[in-house]
């Protein structure tokens, strides 16, 4: 991944991005022309009603999917022009993704699940396990490392998924409703953790949430309605 002319390019830039699912009469336009710029080190909350295209845009930013039209640039690189392997390498080296469903590997311990991304980075077993333990500790799951996903509560699975996303110290953390299944107390802990990662490690965070309380942790709020950005403003400091 050459950095080329990335010095002045924004970290993330969506230009007129649309996404259409299906074809012909059944076609459904999930995104209808989204423009969005996110700079290095930002903490952005994405809000909006269900079905407004939040997950769709996150998948595109996470290089899991490509726009139907328009362009997505990561550090100035047009992602839709990259090969599948190049996009996989972007995900591997720069991105951490927390899915709306947890997407943990079944019949695989929490520790192994969290350590998995490091395997594809070619880390040794001992380094993988050490880093995975650290990440599990950060989400408060140290005592559950040998549990299988089926032996974890929804909230614990969610936290394991977060640990897996941060274990590689990614440049960008993309989290699709990471606190959706957690109680307020746990949610706050997770948000504190993410805010700390953002503040101390300079990890850029994009986070989808329904809860205004959780959006409070972000410094910028983007609101989606009907596949378009309705508003994009800094979070208003309480008076």
């Amino acid at each position: 991944m050459g950095d080329g002319n990335s010095a002045d390019a924004p970290l993330i830039e969506l230009i007129g991005v649309t996404k259409t699912y299906g074809e012909g009469a059944a076609a459904l336009q999930a995104l209808r022309g989204v423009d969005l710029r996110v700079e290095q080190g930002e903490f952005v909350a994405i809000m909006g009603p269900s079905g407004s295209g939040k997950s769709t845009v996150m998948n595109i930013i996470g290089c899991l999917d490509i726009p139907t039209t328009g362009s997505y640039r990561f550090r100035g690189m047009a992602v839709e022009r990259l090969s599948r392997n190049q996009r996989a390498l972007l995900r591997r080296n720069y991105l951490g993704f927390v899915f709306q469903g947890y997407n943990l590997l079944a019949r695989t311990s929490a520790l192994e699940n969290v350590a998995l991304p490091l395997l594809y980075r070619g880390e040794s077993v001992s380094r993988r396990h050490a880093a995975a333990r650290e990440a599990l500790a950060a989400v408060g799951l140290s005592d559950r490392e040998s549990h299988m996903p089926s032996e974890l509560s929804g909230g614990q699975q969610q936290r394991a998924a977060i640990a897996r996303a941060i274990v590689t110290h990614p440049a960008v953390l993309l989290a699709d409703e990471p606190t959706g299944n957690l109680d307020t107390h746990r949610s706050r802990e997770i948000m504190e953790l993410i805010a700390t990662l953002n503040r101390d490690r300079g990890i850029t965070v994009l986070l989808v949430t329904h809860e205004p309380d959780m959006a409070e942790y972000a410094r910028r709020i983007v609101r989606f309605v009907d596949g378009m950005v309705e508003s994009d403003r800094p979070r208003m400091e309480p008076a």
């Binding site: 899991l64 999917d65 392997n85 591997r92 997407n103 590997l105 019949r107 594809y120 070619g122």
Partner: protein, 402 residues
């Protein structure tokens, strides 16, 4: 990357023990079936050839009567005489030895034991022609042969039934109405050759049997051993024309005797067992194929099941080829395990079954390699191609897979 992926594949195999076990089982059964069937078939063929060889090499059997077949009748054809054998020996080249024989089933008695056996009257050449060797004593000499002395050489089965483990040489036995001295003991030819026991026999001079048992000068069969290097077909044709002449058969008449070539029997029999081997092999190949379909099924189902897993791996940065390599290694490890276990089972099974069937165990490297290669190919093809399809999905599509 390779070692990581290998470790990963082994972890996956352990994670899904039941599925792995079924895959291995499918391959195992197919491989073991093919190898065992072919090994047994080969053993049977070898056994048949061996037994035919034990009859004597390059052997022609000349008997009165037409060759047996539908609508043919061997009765009524005149028997041979000793002079026929002498004429053949003197007038036809390429003959190593010729033994005229006549035989009867008679009860023989020694002390309190009696035993019904086949008594063969013949000449000294019989021992050469039939590949008989002596375990003890001697065979009758020319003088005994000429005078028709009451002496005999006994087979191992006869000895066992009349004398137990004693040495019979020097003892006398009663054969029908006369007493006969045992002068020799034959070496065993092995049990149950083509359904009959060759060791259940007593050999006497031809004259002795003719004079004291059959009461005539008839010879029922001529055993002719052809010299090495002489084609049996030539000797056979010469014998046929000589006998036609001696038996006054006109050109328009069929032979009233027949000549059987042991090589011909050998070829027919081993041809039959070879066809049988082929048939068994084909049946086993079908079972291997069915096993293959089973593997294919398991692999297809498992890949469908694992599409989400593939999606997760791709989403966190696995490359297409890393995912495929993982599945490929899994498939190779499983089919190798199955193949090796199959070879092992087949080896043990073949050894046991050949014992039971009393045929020799012959290790056939070709079929072992072939069966393993086939199962490995099935495992790899059906493990790899569905995985490749899944790994080529967009990660988001794979993740959404239900």
């Amino acid at each position: 990357m390779f070692w990581n992926t290998l470790a990963l594949a082994i972890k996956e195999i352990r994670r899904n023990l039941m599925r792995s076990f079924l895959t291995v089982l499918g391959i195992l059964i197919g491989v073991a079936a093919v190898i065992t069937m072919v090994t047994l078939g080969n053993g049977a063929t070898a056994a048949v050839s061996e037994r035919i060889a034990s009859l004597g090499s390059n052997l022609l059997m000349v008997r009165p009567g037409q060759r047996l077949g539908p609508g043919r009748d061997s009765a009524g054809a005149p028997p041979f005489k000793l002079a026929d054998a002498q004429a053949i020996e003197n007038q036809i080249g390429g003959i190593k030895a010729i033994a005229p024989t006549v035989s009867r089933t008679i009860t023989v008695v020694h002390l309190a034991n009696n035993w019904s056996t086949s008594v063969v009257g013949t000449t000294r050449d019989y021992f050469t022609v039939g590949n008989w060797r002596l375990a003890a004593g001697r065979v009758f000499n020319e003088a005994e042969q000429r005078s028709g002395k009451a002496v005999c050489v006994v087979g191992q089965t006869v000895r066992a039934n009349l004398f137990g483990s004693e040495n019979p040489v020097g003892s006398t036995i009663r054969v029908g109405r006369f007493t006969c001295e045992v002068i020799g003991l034959l070496v065993s030819k092995g049990q149950a050759s083509m359904g009959m026991d060759q060791d259940d026999t007593i050999v006497m001079p031809l004259r002795t049997v003719q004079r004291r048992i059959t009461g005539n000068q008839d010879v029922r069969m001529l055993l002719v051993s052809v010299s090495d290097g002489t084609p049996t077909s030539v000797v056979r044709r010469n014998i046929e024309s000589l006998l036609r002449e001696r038996r006054h058969i006109t050109a328009s008449e069929d032979d009233n005797f027949n000549v059987l070539d042991t090589r011909e029997i050998a070829d027919t029999l081993s041809g039959t067992t070879q066809v049988l081997t082929l048939l068994l092999g084909a049946v086993a190949a079908v079972s291997l194929l069915v096993g293959g379909v089973g593997i294919m099924n398991i692999m297809l189902v498992s890949v469908t099941e694992r599409t989400r897993e593939i999606g997760i791996r791709l989403a966190i940065g696995a490359l297409e080829r890393e995912v495929m390599l993982q599945f490929l290694i899994e498939a190779v490890v499983l089919s190798t395990l199955g193949g090796l276990a199959g070879v092992l089972l087949a080896t043990v099974g073949s050894i046991v079954l050949t014992r039971v069937m009393e045929v020799p165990y012959l290790f056939n490297a070709t079929i072992n390699i072939l069966a393993c290669a086939f199962s490995a190919a099935i495992g790899v093809i059906f493990g790899y191609f569905p995985a490749r399809r899944a790994a080529r999905l967009d990660p988001i599509v794979a993740l959404r897979h239900e």
